[in-house]
């Protein structure tokens, strides 16, 4: 009997305490190591080198779209419509232009490297857009028998790809410190726009002198707009997004863009800038 009691006592002493943490084996990390690697530190606010909360913020990416109409006819001073409107303008039933062309949608992609912070990031980066307009070609020698002066077989097009190097500044102080989710910003930069126009056969157009309708023009571009920081919708989710992906903030934004693409007025070059607006989504990361 006594031997049995002794064995039971020894067994009970050998059983681990149910409330105590499990014993650590030799292969498991030490408490110091766990502490060092812990990213979920309660009560401690993580900030970047500029004192902003969250992970380091170095880049911004924008995807946007807006109406665009290249100002090709800017230099036209004659009667009626200029050449671009004559081809791409609104037409009546006979194919004759009776109104200015409609805007086409230009999608664009912009990227910033944010290299300095002064109440907001100062960045530099490229912006690329794409524009395409198409219309039925005009019959060169329409006859009285023709019901319309437009060709059913041939479509002509004008395409441009503006590329810009932009210097940007986003005033984020209010959003970072005072939780006002608005970020005004401005950009300015130098642009170079590739452009080409195709004839009804689908080839790069040529005039009577053999000159090809393709080229590139320099110019400048100014953007100004307002971004709405979406973090306020659900701050916890925004913080988790930052912790898991490094995306600091997400935005919707609208902006005004003024571009003047005409080789700064030098020589006899095409003019394909526009004053328009864009809307889109952006992230900073």
């Amino acid at each position: 009997m006594s031997a049995t009691l002794v064995m039971a006592a020894a067994l009970a002493a050998a059983q681990p305490d149910a409330d105590a943490p499990p014993a650590r084996t030799g292969n498991q990390p030490s408490d110091e190591a766990i502490e060092r690697q812990n990213t979920l530190k309660f009560g401690e606010r993580k900030t970047d080198r500029f004192g902003r909360p969250g992970s380091p913020q170095r880049f911004a990416l924008e995807i946007k779209a807006g109406p665009y109409l290249p100002d090709v006819d800017r230099k036209y001073e004659g009667e009626g419509f200029g050449p671009y409107a004559t081809l791409f303008g609104e037409t009546d039933g006979e194919g004759v232009v009776n109104d200015d062309p409609r805007n086409s949608v230009m999608p664009a992609l912009a990227f910033d490297w944010q290299f300095f912070y002064a109440a907001g990031p100062l960045g530099i980066g490229p912006q690329v857009g794409f524009f395409l307009d198409r219309a039925d070609a005009i019959l060169t020698n329409p006859t009285d028998e023709d019901e319309t002066i437009r060709s059913d077989a041939d479509r002509v097009s004008f395409t441009m790809v503006p590329v810009s190097a932009m210097l940007s500044y986003r005033f984020e102080l209010l959003a970072d410190r005072l939780r006002v989710p608005l970020v005004p910003y401005a950009k300015a930069g130098l642009s170079y726009a590739l452009w080409w126009t195709r004839d009804g056969r689908g080839n790069i157009a040529r005039d009577d002198d053999g000159d090809r309708g393709i080229g590139g023009v320099f110019g400048f571009q100014l953007n100004g707009g307002l971004m709405l920081r979406l973090d306020f919708i659900e701050r916890g989710t925004a913080k988790k997004l930052d912790q898991t992906t490094g995306i600091n903030h997400t935005y919707v934004f609208g902006e005004f863009q003024l571009s003047r693409l005409d080789n700064f007025g030098a020589g006899n070059s095409i003019s394909i800038g526009d004053a328009t607006w864009f809307a889109g989504l952006a992230i900073e990361f």
Partner: protein, 584 residues
């Protein structure tokens, strides 16, 4: 007895067996104009090499047969045939399957080496004529010419294993679909397909308009499974080919990838490479083999079982009734069906058509009997009884006075009746652009109208080809090919390289994978028209678009040089700020 004696003398032979189907290895090659062997047939070749043009040109198929087995085999008589349904045809009592052409008649030992031979593609589609005195392929007379047959054919091998001298159906151990090429999807060996039948085209509403140095043709496309693609043909208004256009085949053995059509005139313009005597008796059966097996059981009788319906006595060893087209009346209610095979098939199925050939009997005959329906156009006069659209033919032949349309030939009067009553003739296919086609007719979707394709910017639904000689382009000569391959789901083609303000004849041709063509559209005319683009418009309005080029920065600034000033100021500001920062 001989084998028994051999077995006693040689124990090894006592355990040998006659060759089975799997013991034979069969391969096919293409051949050139001289019949010389080209490349071994691939999967695509087996599917679509043998078309009507190759049949008409007699472009031979080369084959090799040998026994690949290494085990001892009985020294039995082995006969090799070329054709389809050779087992049924060998009986000689089936109206729709004639005996196949005999290629080799030898013993087992001969087959242990390669046996190479070539045969005219016509033998894949037809058996020997009743008039043929010999079944040997070199002297046999073909029962039919290259028509609209299609099916699976190839080498058939009969291994004699009974006392009967002729091959019996059950003695065929190789039945066509046995090649070394295996279908990757089904895993089964592929047969040598023959297809002489042009596709059914459902494209319609062809419209042409003139572009700058080009004609653009658009159409409404309802994809047909049998259509492999299209080609656009064009010709000058006088019918001559357009300079710089046309298609040339590298060689007659070029790989068939389904991108071009074939006609005999294109493939063998100097005449057939090889010719086979074809029975000229119009009362000979129209079709044989693959097409006749409507129930898929392989016996060709349409009853769904695997044996031929009726006995030889029932059919008659050599029926004397006519069997051309719809001549036998099997396809028309309340008439007398004189096609014995057709009648037997229908009676076996319905069991009530012996006394009176009622409407159900005729309807079943339409499904079962190849004698129903002709090959010719319904909307134009042709020399064959009936026309290709069975419903149309039956409606025209419904009255006794018009029965001759389905019994003798499809006269102009029959064609007129068809135009009045048949949907296939709606829209009109008369005139040079319609029934005059060299192919088997223009589809019912052909459009009509009277406008010319002047390229006015309005669609030209069709063409007025009155007075034009369109026979040249309708010959489908490759010299008139003016486009590349057009996919079957396409609905537009642009023919470039034409001269503005000059009229052209244009037509669209559809073809199947084998390359059998059919005129998808009628011939219409269209005129390329010069058009103006933005660059020319800018030039005309004072060089508004400048001079083009990628850099104009070396030119003198104009009075609009404010942009340069703005940027010079901006960068000056940045440079000054940086200098200040550096000093600090």
């Amino acid at each position: 007895m001989l084998l028994l004696a051999a077995g006693v003398l040689c124990p090894a032979l006592a355990h040998a067996a006659p060759p089975a189907g799997g013991d034979f290895q069969i391969q096919y090659w293409t051949t050139n104009e001289e019949g010389e062997r080209g490349r071994q047939m691939t999967q695509n070749d087996l599917r679509g090499y043998v078309n009507k043009a190759r049949c008409e040109c007699g472009q031979a198929v080369s084959a090799r047969v040998r026994i690949s087995s290494t085990t001892a085999l009985d020294p039995v008589q082995i006969r090799t045939f070329v054709g389809n349904n050779c087992d049924t045809g060998q009986l000689g009592n089936n109206i729709q399957a004639r005996p196949c052409a005999l290629v080799i008649d030898d013993f087992t030992n001969a087959y242990t080496k390669n046996i190479d031979f070539s045969f005219n593609p016509i033998w894949l589609a037809t058996g020997i004529s009743r008039e043929s005195e010999s079944q040997a392929i070199n002297t046999a007379i073909a029962a039919n010419e290259c028509g609209t047959q299609q099916g699976d054919g190839g080498v058939w091998i009969c291994v004699e294993n009974s006392d009967q001298t002729d091959c019996q159906p059950e003695e065929f151990v190789v039945t066509g679909p046995q090649t070394q090429v295996v279908d990757p999807e089904s895993g089964t060996a592929l047969s040598l397909t023959y297809d002489f039948n042009p596709p059914n085209v459902s494209a319609s509403n062809f419209r042409a308009s003139g572009g700058d140095g080009a004609v653009v043709v658009n159409w409404d496309n309802a994809t047909s499974a049998d259509v492999q693609g299209f080609r656009a043909l064009c010709a000058n208004l006088d019918g001559s080919p357009v300079e710089g256009k046309g298609f040339r085949l590298d060689s007659v053995t070029a790989i068939n990838n389904g991108t071009i059509y074939y006609t005999a005139d294109n493939l063998c313009p100097d005449g057939p490479f090889d010719e086979v005597d074809v029975n000229e008796d119009p009362d000979e059966i129209l079709t044989t083999g693959g097409d006749s097996d409507t129930d898929g059981d392989g016996d060709g009788d349409g009853d769904g079982d695997s044996t031929s319906t009726g006995t030889a006595a029932e059919f008659g060893a050599a029926p004397e009734v006519a069997h051309g087209g719809m001549v036998d009346g099997c396809c028309i209610a309340d008439s007398t069906c004189e096609d014995i095979a057709c009648k037997a098939s229908v009676i076996a199925e319905l069991g009530e058509c012996d006394a009176e050939w009622t409407e159900p009997c005729a309807a079943l005959a339409l499904d079962y009997c190849q004698v129903c329906g002709g090959d010719g156009s319904c909307c134009a006069e042709n020399e064959t009884p009936g026309c290709f659209d069975e419903a149309c033919a039956l409606s025209v032949c419904a009255t006794e006075e018009n029965l001759s349309c389905c019994q003798s030939n499809w006269s102009a009067e029959c064609a007129n009746l068809a135009k009045e009553s048949c949907t296939v003739c709606e829209g009109g296919t008369s005139g040079d652009g319609g029934g005059g086609s060299a192919t088997s007719g223009v589809t019912s979707s052909s459009t009509s109208g009277s406008t010319t394709g002047s390229g006015t910017g309005t669609d030209t639904d069709a063409a007025d080809t009155d007075g034009l000689d369109t026979s040249a382009i309708e010959s489908l000569d490759w010299a008139y090919v003016c486009s590349g391959y057009i996919a079957p789901n396409a609905s537009t083609v642009r023919i470039d390289g034409l001269t503005n303000d000059q009229d052209y004849q244009v037509m669209i041709v559809a073809f199947d994978f084998a390359g059998n063509p059919i005129a998808a559209s009628e011939v219409f005319t269209a005129t390329p028209r010069e058009t103006t683009d933005l660059w020319e418009q800018c030039d005309a309005q004072g060089e508004i678009c400048g001079t083009g080029g990628f850099c104009s920065c070396t030119q003198d600034p104009t009075d609009r040089g404010e942009g340069w000033l703005l940027f010079a100021g901006l960068f000056g500001l940045i440079a000054r700020r940086r200098r200040r920062g550096g000093a600090a």
